[in-house]
Amino acid sequence: MSAEKTAPAPAKNDLFKQITQGPGLVSVLGVIVALIVGGLLIAVTDERVATTAGYLFARPSDFFSALWEAGTSSYVALFEGSIYNSAQGFAPFLETLTVSTPLICAGLGVGLAFRAGLFNIGAQGQIIIGAAMAGYVGFAWHLPVVLHLLLVIVFGLIGGALWGGLVGLLKARTGAHEVILTIMFNYVALYLLDFLMNTQAFRRPGETNPISPILDTTAVFPALPGSRLHVGFLLAVLLTFGMGWLLKRSTLGFELRAVGHNPLAAQTAGVNVQRAMIVAMALAGALAGAAGVAQVAGTEKVLTAGIAGSLGFDAITVALLGRSTPWGTFFAGLLFGAFRAGAVNMQISTGTPIDIVLVVQSLIVLFIAAPPLIKAMFGLNPKKKKIQAAAAATQGGAQ
């Protein structure tokens, strides 16, 4: 007892951890609830449901069967567009893997930073710089096979690492907050690419639109014949393994995790916290840079101003859904890839707007960012008891 305080970690930090590294069950339930809510949204905007609702009390069975069909048929179309359908076999699944590749890489980048206690909103900028450097090497240099692709990858990683590491450096040296830094770095990267795309060096000769020359065939990932799936997916798998090793079995990962949980204890134990921050952000940037490589040397094969799409922001969702663990992020990336790949088919075959997929994605984030909500819904809430017990412990210092 004496002056002993039970010293709760700062509440803000707790929340950060709860959202970024909480139990996986919340993620799974969050996805399920989001799908159900999304299904309801699809159903209520469906025309037939609206019509049958008009005579709901006369023939309620019509209304409910319309409701059920509207909801399920969209998801069936989503499934057929992303995993399997009788006409194309598993071809849609290969498309899902293709779309997932950059999401997984960038998601790992965001997740790695989370584990070191850093909120990396800057995946977008890191992807852009990575893609720009990789793309430039890909179309401007002409090198032998293998070596060329290797350099494309390396320069993409370096580009992302620089963009992320710079944020880490600024944070470590000046104490500036990484969230603000990364957001601003996103803008810098975005407009820098806009500018570059209008220079002689980057714009395709004879073209007025901001589009680069096509990458050399030696510079792009070999693809599986008959699909868009390319070797970049293997890179994503490799990076997932790599991050697993880094976090679990390396001294560097030990440092990063220690800094992420308790920087003061890490410092007392001799960890150079500033260096750890810089390294964490550089590695996170390199992973996002890999996403840029996957985009420019895998799916697109040209550099455009919109090369990163909304990947960098989806990556945050992916990392959150994956609880910042390597394999959690991997599967979250696959899920989001499936959403994207299947959304097109869903719109074509059922008329459900693609936007509904974005709604589901957003709902997932919403549910994950508010873990108590999911816990309360499913009666998983031991929190009340915990609060009481914690109060008991804190009330008297420690009784």
């Binding site: 004496s2 002993e4 079995r249 220690a258 949980h261 134990a269 009330q395 420690a398 009784q399």
Partner: protein
């Protein structure tokens, strides 16, 4: 006022913090509740104060059953509580703090502080409190702030006062003054429930002592009971309170601190040209009231606190200016004062915490790759060696009790060859049984010839462990005195009286009696 608790139980889920507790506090009695950390004393008092509803049992005030749904009811029934951490608003005056929550108002809802001021003066005069109603609370010393808390309760007509670990934050002198105040309150008919784990104070002031262990009453004894017996009741097995350590056989002074100064961000000199030596095979205990530069001293040696001047040499090599990693690698074992903040990563497993500052050294790492088998083996050994109570080394450190967490930190720091061992508050918040164990470990390290520096605000611990005692006051070393220096002298030094003067005062007092 007579207060009675009958069969009080309080459960949190399946865990019983209190189980069937009977307690009778007579009119004008000082009743001590003695027990270790987590024994359930504070929970019991929170039940009594209406903060918790008992799962079972009754509370009787003057033989009438009462039902408290909140602190308001308890206060109305004449129960006042002084929490261990004061519930005062620092930027308010004493009068404003006392009035808060029970403000008297004039016409139109205007605040009437005059009545409160008058009451404060009355109480202050009656007990010799010397409290100015218009002083800002943040300007007052801790001891006076505590009196403000007591006044707050008395103004609300408390006839039973609960004091939760009131001496934890006080200097020895302030503690004595508090004990006097308690006796006066008793003389004026106020009953007091005194919660403590410090046997000396408990014996000095109590009329009755109720010992609680694991949520249950072990027994009620008179203060004449033997100290060792009380300690054994508390812990549940026999403990020896004195270490009976061998006298030190100091060797050469291998650790030398010279003119070490630290100026904090606000520009205050928090450490002022501190100089001392520690010899091989000797324990130097740094005593002092909390916040007199102890934290800065240890952190400056470790290298996490920038210094403004001085030198720190270990075996002739300068430690200042090196990174923490280099200092640790130079053979320094460091136990920080607050284990949960600086000593452990509470989300990490026990296993990982046992190598928190060794993770990149052989045999735990080779290059970038960690050897998890060695980490596991090390954990098994250290848990065995330091008797860490856990069923799985993969559990997070936060699952351990305070004593076992401290054992993890100590095991880690003592588990390697050391040239200097520094431990701040080595047994803060640790149960009596573990204190003995940890103290023996520290002495054992000394006996291998390591210079040891202990920083503690607990005078008992300082006296127990020290071969020499350095007293810090406002960032300066007031004096370095032998271990057999009388308590009173140390107490005076902790309040800023120089060693010579303190000794002289002590002598005069002795002659006066």
């Amino acid at each position: 006022m007579k207060l009675e608790l009958r069969g009080i139980s309080k459960a949190f889920g399946t865990f019983y913090a209190n189980k069937g507790i009977d307690l009778v506090v007579d009119d004008a009695e000082i009743h001590c509740l003695l027990g270790e950390n987590g024994a359930g004393k504070s929970t019991l008092m929170n039940v009594l104060y209406g903060l918790y509803q008992p799962t079972e049992g009754q509370i009787l005030v003057d033989d009438q059953v009462v039902d408290f749904s909140g602190p308001g009811d308890a206060m109305a029934a004449g129960i006042g509580m002084v929490h261990q951490h004061f519930m005062l608003i620092p930027v308010f005056t004493v009068a404003e703090n006392v009035a808060l929550g029970a403000e008297s108002t004039k016409a139109g809802g205007r605040l009437d502080l005059e009545t409160t001021r008058r009451k404060i003066r009355e109480i202050s005069a009656k007990y010799g409190f010397d409290v100015d109603p218009d002083a800002l609370v943040e300007d007052l010393p801790v001891g006076v702030q505590q009196r403000v808390e007591i006044i707050k309760a008395l103004v609300r007509r408390a006839r039973v006062l609960i004091l939760d670990e009131p001496t934890a934050v006080l200097t020895p002198q302030e503690t004595d003054e508090l004990l006097d105040i308690m006796r006066q309150l008793k003389a004026n008919g106020t009953s007091i429930v005194f919660i403590s784990h410090k046997l000396r104070e408990v014996k000095a002031v109590s009329d009755q002592i109720t010992v609680i262990r694991r949520g249950e009453v072990v027994g009620t004894v008179s203060p004449q009971a033997d100290t060792t017996e009380l300690a054994s009741m508390m812990v549940g097995r026999s403990v020896s309170l004195s270490l009976n350590k061998e006298p030190a056989t100091p060797g050469e002074a291998t650790f030398q601190v010279r003119d070490l100064s630290v100026i904090d961000e606000a520009g205050t000199r928090v450490l002022n040209e501190v100089s001392f030596d520690i010899h091989r095979g000797e324990i130097l205990a740094v005593a002092g009231v909390q916040g007199n530069g102890q934290t800065e001293l240890t952190e400056a040696i470790l290298g996490t606190q920038p210094v403004s001047g001085g030198s720190v040499q270990l075996e002739g090599k300068e430690l200042l200016g090196r990174s923490v990693k280099q200092v640790l690698a130079a053979g320094v074992g460091f136990v920080p004062e607050d284990r949960s903040v600086h000593g452990l990563v509470s989300q990490f497993s026990i296993e990982e915490n046992l190598i928190l500052d060794l993770y990149d050294r052989a045999p735990f790492a080779k290059g970038l790759s960690m050897n998890l088998a060695q980490v596991r083996k090390n954990a098994a050994e250290q848990i065995e060696r330091f008797d860490v109570r856990t069923d799985n080394a993969l559990n997070p450190a936060s699952s351990l009790s305070g004593g076992n967490q401290q054992k993890v930190v100590m095991a880690r720091e003592l588990g390697r060859e050391l040239k200097l061992f520094i431990a701040s508050q080595p047994t803060r918040g640790v149960d009596v049984g573990s204190i003995e164990f940890l103290h023996r470990r520290i002495v054992a390290e000394r006996d291998t010839g390591t210079p040891v520096m202990i920083v503690s605000t607990e005078l008992d611990e300082v006296i127990e462990l020290a071969d020499r005692i350095a007293v810090l006051y406002k960032g300066s070393i007031i004096g370095i005195v032998p271990a057999d220096t009388p308590r009173d002298v140390l107490g005076l030094m902790m309040a800023g009286v120089s060693a010579d003067e303190a000794a002289a005062q002590h002598k005069n007092q002795g002659e006066g009696q």
